[in-house]
């Protein structure tokens, strides 16, 4: 019996691998091989920056040099991404909640509206914020009309009465650009919740706040988890927002990698910095998954 089960399992495995092979091949060709090449370059020396020749010599100092030179940008990237992610949750969760439970027949229209901006290029949308936030734009007009410039300076929303070209603008741009990636997964997990559970809670005389805390929130956490990953990872790697909406002190790690790669022709340092960035993100995601793992929550 056990033997038979075993062989069928083995057969199953073989066909499983057979079915997986296109995907595995894809991963091998377009992920593992490039990663290997990247790692090799990260551990190499490029004796002449203008010739495509690399000497593989286990040059670990590429890594330590990159950390020394770009630690500020690394911290900044993760800081901005974290801030934008938190803002996305604060804005996105109520939005998704409304869509899932309250929107009624407007739901499809509203969902569509969330997606509509994506028909415009990411760049155009970000550049549009320069007009919105800049001098003569609506954002400053509101502040000026309400005579709130001093207050907004005080709370750090503006700097010297300006929105544009500040770190606030960068975080705002990141939040704006990645908000739908937070809203949609949360919406999906909220939408799956059986309304009967809430009815049951009410029947048992639970207060709505408790029903939310004990039923809705835990059941929607997988959505928050997915949304956080979808927001945080690209936000940390993004630098268009920092370049267009920020100033000389808001540059993120992506532009540094590009500079190393393109302006300085320093592939080894660029590769090492990419690796450091990926390693930190991977470690962070694993830690996050451990703390807020989806399996227990789904059960």
């Amino acid at each position: 019996m056990a033997g038979a089960a075993n062989t069928s399992l083995k057969k199953g495995r073989r066909s499983t691998y057979g079915l997986l092979s296109p995907g595995l091949l894809w991963l091998l060709l377009f992920f593992l091989v490039p990663m290997g090449t990247l790692l090799r370059i990260a551990l190499s020396t490029k004796p002449d920056p203008w010739l495509p020749v690399y000497e593989f010599d286990w040059r670990w100092s590429n890594f330590s040099d990159s950390i020394d030179r770009f630690s500020a940008e690394l911290f900044r990237s993760f800081g901005y991404a974290a801030a934008a992610t938190v803002l996305c949750i604060l804005i996105g969760y109520p939005l998704a909640y409304y869509l899932a439970f309250r929107a009624g027949r407007w739901r499809t229209v509203l969902l569509g509206l969330i997606m509509v901006p994506f028909f415009t290029s990411f760049l155009i949308r970000t550049i549009a914020w320069k007009t919105i936030l800049g001098t003569g734009g609506p954002a400053l007009w509101v502040l000026d009309t309400l005579h709130l410039t001093g207050v907004s300076d005080l709370v750090g929303l503006t700097t010297d009465g300006k929105f544009l070209n500040t770190s606030t603008a960068v975080i705002g741009g990141l939040t704006y650009n990645f908000l739908p990636f937070m809203v949609l997964p949360i919406y999906v997990s909220l939408e799956k919740i059986d309304i009967g559970l809430l009815d049951a809670a009410r029947d048992l005389y639970d207060v709505p706040a408790n029903a939310f805390r004990k039923i809705v929130l835990p059941l929607s956490l997988p959505g928050v988890f997915a949304g956080t990953l979808l927001t945080f990872i690209p936000a940390a790697g993004d630098y268009i927002n920092a370049e267009l909406l920020g100033n000389v002190d808001t540059s993120m790690i992506g532009s540094q990698i590009q500079n190393l790669f393109i302006a300085e022709s320093n592939y080894p340092a660029a590769a090492a910095l990419s690796f450091i960035f990926m390693a930190i993100i991977t470690a962070g995601v694993l830690l996050y998954a451990k703390v807020l793992g989806t399996e227990e929550l789904a059960a």
């Binding site: 377009f30 490039p34 990663m35 090449t37 990247l38 370059i41 002449d48 920056p49 203008w50 010739l51 495509p52 020749v53 030179r69 290029s121 760049l123 155009i124 550049i127 549009a128 320069k130 007009t131 800049g134 001098t135 003569g136 734009g137 010297d160 300006k162 544009l164 070209n165 690209p234 790697g237 993004d238 268009i240 370049e243 267009l244 920020g246 100033n247 000389v248 002190d249 808001t250 540059s251 790690i253 992506g254 532009s255 540094q256 990698i257 590009q258 500079n259 190393l260 790669f261 393109i262 302006a263 300085e264 022709s265 320093n266 660029a270 590769a271 990419s274 690796f275 960035f277 990926m278």
Partner: protein
């Protein structure tokens, strides 16, 4: 002229009427390729892996291929650069040579790391028979031995090359490059914001404009203007003097004087008044449509002259056809047609005279000091000198640390 420039400044066709929106679309077009090639750290990783793969993906044809910057040749009102009466059309008609005109040259360093270095550096030809890198990149290619020597016998119109381009240290005979268009890096300011005229390169460092100054990420233009303000000559490219200029820039950044370092994207900020003074390119100011009173000045201490130069990469398969093209666009009539549309400084003698004779609209361009700087201005223009490789890397690295 067969093709007159559309009503707006050059390169504006196909853009929305609203100036802000037009600027946004224009900027996105300029930004798109370069910025997204690199993308995120992850995307960059992938790009780093296969520069050869990337370049071999580009179109490869058996035709003469010219890889140029975008919006750099005359088009008809519909944005078609092959329409009847355009330079490309006339060239094909006159010579019977088919030309593939690409606009995939977006950035000197990017093209170098994507195509020149991985291909030419391994002794393989690239897909283009003519490319138009900026002068310092052209000089680098010439010095690396990655360009073909031109047969000037095939280019009789070489005699129309402006004298200033003869005798450059990296190619005194001017037989490995032919300038495509030229321009000036100087200072642009928003007169509405400042309310007075600026004349000095040091105005960039005036505390009055603290936090309202942008500079270019193009190292030679920003460092060069700083040097001119300090009384140094960027044409000497003395590493010690450059170092002092970098010192000054670093200090300016620490003091909050410089808001940011940019590509062409300073224009919108300048037009809106978020930026008061900027290191700027003459062609940008010439073609930027705005209600604001933007002014461009070549500082008293001098400005930076740059030019993009056509070169034939080593091993190009259509060298003779490339020379026929160069000869054709150096015919002053043809050069004038291009100038009228692109609005840059032409390296070809006799263009101004043709434009002056070409009717009102053309004559206006001939009188534009940004397109035809007068002799006194011309005398103040400097071309940044050639840097040794080690110096260039060290300077560029330090500059990148400053620009953030």
């Amino acid at each position: 002229m067969a093709t007159t420039r559309p009503s707006g400044p050059p390169g504006r066709r196909g853009l929305p009427d609203d100036p802000d929106l037009a600027a946004a679309v224009g900027m996105a077009r300029r930004l798109t390729r370069r910025r997204f090639l690199a993308g995120t750290g992850l995307g960059l990783g992938a790009a780093a892996l296969a520069p050869g793969l990337l370049s071999s993906c580009a179109t490869s044809t058996d035709k003469l291929t010219f890889s140029n910057w975008t919006q750099y040749i005359d088009e008809d009102d519909n944005g078609n650069n092959r329409a009847r009466g355009t330079t490309i059309y006339e060239f094909e008609r006159a010579t019977g040579i088919d030309i593939e005109y690409l606009t995939d040259f977006n950035d000197n360093d990017e093209y170098f790391n994507r195509s020149f270095s991985p291909m030419l550096g391994r002794g393989k030809p690239i897909n283009a028979d003519i490319v138009a890198p900026t002068y310092w990149m052209a000089a680098r290619l010439v010095e690396l031995g990655w360009t073909e020597q031109l047969d000037l016998g095939n280019i009789p119109n070489h005699r129309y090359l402006e004298d200033a381009y003869l005798g450059l240290p990296w190619n005194p005979e001017a037989d490995r490059f032919m300038p495509w268009q030229a321009g000036i890096a100087g200072i642009a300011y928003n007169h509405d914001v400042i309310g007075r005229d600026l004349t000095s390169a040091n105005d960039l460092f005036d505390p009055e404009f603290r936090g309202q100054v942008t500079m270019l990420t193009e190292m030679r233009d920003t460092v060069g203007l700083t040097m001119l303000g300090m009384g140094f000559d960027p044409a000497d490219a003395d590493p010690g003097e450059i170092d002092q200029a970098l010192e000054k820039l670093e200090q300016a950044r620490r003091d909050g004087q410089v808001l940011k370092f940019t590509g062409n994207d300073y224009l919108q900020d300048l037009g809106r008044g978020d930026v008061a003074v900027a290191v700027a390119w003459s062609g940008d100011i010439y073609s930027f449509e705005t209600d604001a009173d933007l002014r461009f000045v070549v500082p008293d201490e001098g400005g930076l002259q740059w030019f993009d130069a056509m070169v034939v990469p080593k091993g190009a398969t259509h060298k003779a056809e490339a020379e026929a093209w160069m000869d054709f666009v150096y015919e002053p009539e043809n050069a004038a047609r291009i100038t009228e549309w692109v609005g840059y400084v032409s390296p070809v003698k006799g263009v101004r005279e043709i434009l002056l004779a070409g009717g009102e609209e053309s004559a206006a361009i001939a009188e534009d000091p940004l397109v035809f700087p007068d002799e006194e201005t011309q005398a103040r223009l400097r071309v940044f000198g050639t840097l040794e490789q080690a110096d260039e890397i060290a300077i560029q690295t330090r500059f990148n640390d400053i620009t953030g």
